[in-house]
Symmetry: none
Subunit: 221 residues, 4 copies
Amino acid sequence: MPDGKSVTDETMTAKPVRKRDSAGTRARILNVATREFANKGYEGAKTDDIADRARINKRMIYHYFSSKEQLYLTVLEAAYDRARSAEQKLELEQVAPLEALTRFTEFTFDSFVRDRTFINLLATENRQRAKVLKKSAQVNTMNSPVIDAIGRIIARGTADGSIRDGLDARQLWITIIGICYFFFSNIYTLSVIFDSDMEAAGSIAERRAHVVEFVLRGVKA
Amino acid sequence: MPDGKSVTDETMTAKPVRKRDSAGTRARILNVATREFANKGYEGAKTDDIADRARINKRMIYHYFSSKEQLYLTVLEAAYDRARSAEQKLELEQVAPLEALTRFTEFTFDSFVRDRTFINLLATENRQRAKVLKKSAQVNTMNSPVIDAIGRIIARGTADGSIRDGLDARQLWITIIGICYFFFSNIYTLSVIFDSDMEAAGSIAERRAHVVEFVLRGVKA
Amino acid sequence: MPDGKSVTDETMTAKPVRKRDSAGTRARILNVATREFANKGYEGAKTDDIADRARINKRMIYHYFSSKEQLYLTVLEAAYDRARSAEQKLELEQVAPLEALTRFTEFTFDSFVRDRTFINLLATENRQRAKVLKKSAQVNTMNSPVIDAIGRIIARGTADGSIRDGLDARQLWITIIGICYFFFSNIYTLSVIFDSDMEAAGSIAERRAHVVEFVLRGVKA
Amino acid sequence: MPDGKSVTDETMTAKPVRKRDSAGTRARILNVATREFANKGYEGAKTDDIADRARINKRMIYHYFSSKEQLYLTVLEAAYDRARSAEQKLELEQVAPLEALTRFTEFTFDSFVRDRTFINLLATENRQRAKVLKKSAQVNTMNSPVIDAIGRIIARGTADGSIRDGLDARQLWITIIGICYFFFSNIYTLSVIFDSDMEAAGSIAERRAHVVEFVLRGVKA
DNA sequence: AATGAATGAGTCTTCATTCAT
DNA sequence: AATGAATGAAGACTCATTCAT
């Protein structure tokens, strides 16, 4: 689920505005929009700001994406796509079952350390009850490859006696993601409540160790 | 953390608007505002709507809360307060350590089944990096009682050999909340992705059983 | 149908903007809007202009009328109302049948000389196939009083032998209005085509004489 | 004045877009534009829509017509041209004067039954006080042939005693057109006001009979 | 305590038109 | 001849907040 690569900020490195660069303009809008929607939510992101920061005429947003909502949906779909692609690069079939689950947990955790764009987009989208994501034609079966991979790990593990019985792939996936996710999705309120900086390297390392151990104990035979 | 009681909808049962009912007016605003901020986020909630639904003059919002942000902060603080109160009613000291942790996990899970207002408020607040919560004078040490309670359970458990070594109370608390939280915070996007209704009673029961078992295996010696 | 009183221009005579004058503000918006919709059509009229000319904040239009379309509908209904009121002041029952029809024809013609606001509103509304007027709750039986009056004149006239047989009140009403209406509704294009100023007093007087005589010949026995 | 032929819809029958078909492209734009201006008025018609429906690049509108206003003027001129051509096909000189006027009245009425494009264009143009038509170099004397023809009919009729004295050709023309025109130009608002469908075949037949008889009584000796 | 009127600065979206190819 | 990219100005409508009573 988490994305392996963060959204690169084209505005930082962009050359002086190119005239008539269709693909480039579209990509620049999409990158900026991803950042804005992630940082400010759907309502909080402003088309004016997106246009300014992408250094294009506001009209172009409508030329390429036809509405704020369509732009947002495209952003969402691209985020899911990045996440899926990253997961597929993990080579979990070649290693021992417990090692594979450890690797998947660490990968998930680390991807949230690197970039929380996707978390923020999901928060916004769930707040509006997936109103927009429901309209996506391509997203609804996106997750099966990962679930299948985890299912195969569980099967191997129960066969060789390293993993306990009764584990469901989907439930396990939700659990691993969830244990990693909550810490990061709520890192700001947790920092206030505990009155300590959860983003500090020490806090993160401590959390990572706990998570990995907890997951391992939860799955092993 | 989760709140035991959901916000009751005063607008449903309210008598014809009472003139000059200071406490009632204030409470009605607060209830409506809680619902609006939870359902629509900070930016999405409109003072006009809150006034309309609380059947008061918009000016009253400013009379009692001085600004939209102050109103929102009050809503947030009240939500934390409800959550803390509910947790304190759990009697975890009297039962065996593993039983106490089971009970806490189930309570957390069930509170999210009942009402997800708090989850939504937290999503909104984290999206804006706890900008508003930081201004709260009362929230920042609110969580210690629960953490302390969990610490005492762990101590009892390691002493009687039922709980494994090396468990940190705060980490465990985050883990238990997180395993419950993610399923509910992302229930809408998960429903789309898995193309099945996660809010259905069956899905929830299945999830609950998995969560309780996973936590137990994660903590026992 | 034609209105007896034209819309008076409040902006011309208005005192310095009164604070908190609900009725006055509403009336000023309505007057200005009537002029704008009549002169520029529904699409051509701009809410910004209406606000500027009524010297109010644009937000007030939405406060009092909730949308451009509702404002336009209110303008339309008020125009029909003025027209009906004016017609009801004609005392057609007391005079001889042919004299009564003459008087009605002259009144109709003269009302268009005075003010063509209503004609313009009707042109706009018919261009959009009465889309908005259809939504009016009050307009659909507005015309019966006039038709009834004309019906009684025809009855008296056929009884005393001054008016020919076979005249239908509704058809006659449409005919009289129509003979007057077309000249005024198309006065600008007619002026171009005939390359002469149809708004000149001479053109109007000539037309009036023709119309009255033509109607009389059309109805008398 | 009314057009005998309605604007045929080229978009319906068009072959797959021909590249480099100058005359065809121009004609297609003109047909679509006529429909759009008639149905939506000058302000309501959008160049984007016209381009889409004519299945051409928007730039072509500017290539062939240089501006929205020029396009609209061309549409107007073509409409007048069609109307004049149709009238000239009537052979009014060969028949008896009253028969000739009957035929002209029926022709006018029927042309509005067939197509009200011209009526709609005139409504729009008069609403803007013929601002655009005034710029036409060719329209301003277009109507004389019909007026002349009616003049000759009146002359023949007064000579043979079938038509009354004192009829002015231009006034009569305006009257005949007007009696027909108003019913159709206001057919939508009349339908609402009388709460009955004026476009129904019965309503139209009834109206036609009334009009023809009324005109005849208005002109005969 | 309570209210409705009023406001200025946005907010998404659309438009006619021009540019580069 | 034909196209898609690009633009600046405006358009309907909204928002949190303040004023006058």
